[in-house]
């Protein structure tokens, strides 16, 4: 591990100034991903700027009905918060579906968003990887591709190809819930819609997000939304716990009494370089009856441009039917719950 200096500025603005001024400095929060990367030799910063205690660890109600989550709030505390559990259940479930109890006690809201792909080739310094070593190639394209992308990836040219997926569960729920990310830079604070925070690989897979070096996430705002209370998160993985998603779905449905879908929010995990807002699925659902045929058509609409990795050592074609099945199961579940709620609320 390369030697590094450790700094703990007095406030968030000081941390931003320090990292902005030093291309060799990085922020440290919970450390669950960064410390591993230091050990792997994947991250070689000259200075760690610890932001623990510099961003809020509180979850607060805002006057407009939003819930503000400080960037320093631990994943375990966010999942346990009563308001999150009742108003944004998909977020609580996504958090609880991620990592382990120990890691959730350590990982922060800001850090979770900025964790990096678990692509085995990205983490293996002996192999080509355009994300880690731009221009070197993508080893996953003809390698062990199982956790890799089916949507929005770059398959060619070879020098920029990247089929990595974003590993966060939390971020998938936040995308479905239309969260707003508050970011502090040297010019002050700006707000980035969560759906715009993470990038597709495009022609520069080395960059995961739109944040500039030195910009610090200070909070995540969850807007008020009646539909969010009827949200859920479903995760499919190779083992029942403590594994990254092969495919996941965060969704919310508003179904009218006559069975028509009034509103829908759908995001997919495990399928792309960023948490994937399934806008084609949403458009296909709204106004249609909440039936199996509608759900199937909605899944097809999203996957029409899908392109799996076709590797001789296992590709990601299996994810296409898995996305459909997971989406259908989630939408069925939400529809049944909405019906149950309506029945309960019937005065008769």
């Amino acid at each position: 591990m390369r030697p590094f200096a450790y700094e703990r500025p007095d406030d968030a603005a000081g941390a931003v100034a320090t990292v902005t001024a030093d291309p060799d400095a990085v922020f440290l929060a919970g450390g669950t991903n960064l410390v591993d990367h230091l050990r792997l030799g994947l991250a070689t910063p000259g200075t760690l700027v610890d932001v623990t205690g510099l961003t809020s660890t509180e979850i607060t109600d805002l006057p407009d009905g939003s819930l503000r989550v400080g960037a320093g709030v631990r994943n375990a505390d966010l999942a346990a918060d009563e308001r999150v559990r009742t108003r944004y259940p998909a977020l609580a479930q996504a958090l609880l579906a991620g990592a382990s109890g120990q890691l959730r006690n350590m990982a922060t809201t800001g850090g979770n968003l900025l964790q990096r792909t678990r692509c085995v080739y990205f983490q293996d310094l002996t192999t080509p990887c355009n994300k880690r070593a731009p221009g070197s190639g993508c080893s996953a394209l003809d390698g062990w591709a199982r956790h890799h992308a089916v949507l929005g990836a770059t398959h060619e040219p070879a020098g920029v190809a990247c089929v990595a997926t974003h590993p966060s569960d939390m971020a998938v729920a936040l995308v479905a819930l239309d969260a707003q990310v508050r970011v502090l830079g040297t010019d002050g604070e700006r707000t980035v819609p969560i759906g715009d925070l993470h990038r597709l690989p495009g022609d520069d897979p080395s960059r995961d997000t739109v944040l500039a070096h030195g910009e610090l996430i200070t909070a995540v705002d969850l807007p008020p939304s009646p539909i969010a209370a009827h949200s859920t998160y479903r995760k499919v993985r190779d083992r029942a716990s403590y594994a990254f998603a092969l495919v996941s779905v965060a969704a919310a449905l508003d179904v009218a009494d006559d069975g028509t879908i009034r509103d829908a929010r759908v995001a997919l995990g495990g399928v792309a370089h960023r948490p994937w807002r399934a806008t084609a699925t949403e458009q296909s659902l709204v106004g249609a009856p909440a039936t199996e045929d509608t759900f199937r058509a909605a899944a097809r609409a999203e996957l029409v441009d899908a392109r799996p990795v076709e590797s001789p050592r296992g590709g990601t074609a299996f994810k296409l039917p898995l996305v459909t099945a997971t989406l259908l199961a989630t939408l069925r579940d939400l529809t049944a719950r909405t019906a149950a709620t309506t029945t309960r609320e019937d005065p008769a």
Partner: protein
């Protein structure tokens, strides 16, 4: 590059000077000769290094010591006063919840931290009603302890041991 820091480990106060790259796990084992937490994978995947850091179960292999100046660390060794066994440790003995024992200190710290979380009403991903009370059945215990691997495969007895203690914890 070095840093001076203090740690309270199992009730004993220590001051030490470490390279900034030192993890809490290495500070405990290599600098303070506290060998109860074990180094398994050193990548946050096995849970053998689990300690209670300021009261919460934490992976000491992914925690930099320099970032935890002043912290209070409890290892499996320090859970009960000298000469006594913590109820979770006693249950591990009673239920034969280990074979080689390498993962056991991490399992015990994780179970103790988990029982506190459950007593505080924290749900898990297998909790049916997110807003409801927590009942520590076998599925809940297995899910909540999934961050601790046991390569001997003593899981069935580990769940028995934790279930016994869990049944006495406030629901």
């Amino acid at each position: 590059m070095h840093a001076d820091l203090s740690l309270t480990v199992d009730g004993h106060h220590h001051t030490l000077t470490v390279d900034t790259r030192t993890t809490v796990l290495d500070a405990l084992r290599e600098h303070l000769a506290v060998t109860s937490p074990k180094k398994g994978c050193d990548h946050g995947q096995c849970g053998a290094c689990t300690v209670l850091l300021d009261g919460r179960r934490t992976l000491s292999c992914l925690s930099l010591a320099v970032a935890h100046d002043g912290a209070e660390v409890t290892t499996a060794d320090g859970l009960a006063p000298e000469g006594e066994l913590h109820p979770v440790a006693q249950a591990f003995l009673d239920h034969d919840a280990f074979q080689c024992g390498y993962c056991t200190p991490g399992q015990i710290c994780s179970a103790v931290g988990m029982l506190d979380e459950a007593a505080a009403g924290h749900p898990s991903v297998v909790t049916d009603d997110l807003a409801g009370p927590v009942t520590l059945d076998r599925a809940e215990i297995a899910e909540r302890l999934s961050g601790n691997l046991c390569r001997c495969g003593a899981y069935a007895h580990i769940v028995d041991a934790v279930a016994e203690v869990g049944s006495e914890v406030a629901r």
